[in-house]
Amino acid sequence: MNSRVAIAVLRARLYAQRRIVFYACVAAFVAGFVQPDGLAAPLFLCSLLGITTALAQSPGLHPYLDSCEASAPLFGRQLARAKALVPCVAATLAVGVYAVAEALRGAPSVPITFAISLGAVGAATLTALSATIRRGAPRVFYVAIAAGIALAAYALASEAHSPIAALSLCAITAFLALRQYGEALGRYDPI
């Protein structure tokens, strides 16, 4: 990936969406400070925030950024990776802030909760990105898959007591979701 393009897209979009990122981090901090211990709250809350920030990359919300990116001399996969960085950074910030709040509260097993939450949130966020360039039922379908991935990661880590399996599932789905988003963005006609 061309880092110059990726950093430019990241800066421009994070600046345009600074309020949503800030509110996501505040929500994560408050929840992390008051919630009981466990994986459910950080994983589901931060996945929801990740899906929300992914959907905030939908065309039409920042028209001049969209028109710049659509007419820029970039391959679909380059643009996909750069755009994927934006919700991933926002979601990672939320997970990090949640972990800090948990640590301040003196909650146990913060590192493992942080690692599993981060994996699940990343996979859910990247899957939800494919919904941004679709409408109607396909859009709902991708959001549902993203939620399903968070649920599956939780089940594997919390119910099946296999954090390795949860992280493996997240890594595989995140890789496939990013590839799928790049392919879809390459074929996407902004009409």
Binding site: R4, V5, P63, Y64, S67, S71, A72, P73, I191
Partner: protein, 195 residues
């Protein structure tokens, strides 16, 4: 002997997706030429402009931008052709600087050079309302060979064509009078050729 290719060649170029349909369009735009295309609707004008600048791929027919096919060489096409969308937008001074910097990064230009170029263009386009000038400045800092304008304001035709300099210009319109403002008598006035 090989004949030189036009900068933009469209042959029965058609876009269709569901209910949305545009074309077929057949036209050539040579280097440095000014051309205006009058189509039936605003929607069609937007789609044809997007096809001519490789932002949208033709569903059938052929589009070649300086011999590059947007379906497989879209990056090369987008370096040559720049699209100026119809929708105007206003930015604050700070946002304008960010906008120019952003475009410079996406087009891999020298940021300082892009800022200086933008300042020159801004002075040159002082007579145009800023909301219409900003997208044009953004498109021109990439130094395209072909400027594609989606329904530009005919009242600013002279300033826009002057700012384009030696760059070829294709504008799409849903109004014949507006099209004539961009392609005066001495230049070509193209019409969609239906197959």
């Amino acid at each position: 002997m090989l004949l030189p290719m036009p900068l933009l060649r469209m042959r029965d170029a058609t876009f269709s997706a569901g209910e949305t349909r545009a074309g077929p369009v057949t036209l050539d735009v040579e280097i440095g030429e000014r051309a205006a295309l009058h189509v039936a609707s605003a929607r069609e004008a937007a789609i044809v402009a997007a096809m001519a600048s490789a932002v949208v791929k033709a569903s059938s027919g052929c589009v070649l931008i300086a011999d590059f096919d947007p379906r497989v060489q879209s990056v090369a096409c987008k370096r040559i052709a720049a699209l100026v969308p119809h929708e105007p937008f206003t930015l604050t001074e700070n946002e304008f600087a960010r906008y120019i910097e952003y475009r410079a990064e996406l087009w891999k230009l020298d940021p300082a050079g892009a800022r200086a170029h933008a300042a020159v263009l801004r002075r040159r386009l002082a007579g145009i309302h800023e909301a219409f000038a900003i997208p044009l400045i953004g498109a021109l800092i990439g130094m395209p060979k072909l400027l594609v304008l989606d329904r530009p304001q005919p009242v600013y035709a002279r300033e826009i064509l002057a700012a384009a300099g030696r760059c070829a210009v294709l504008s799409t319109h849903d109004d014949a009078a507006a099209a004539r403002a961009f392609a005066p008598k001495a230049l070509h006035f193209l019409r969609a050729v239906e197959s």
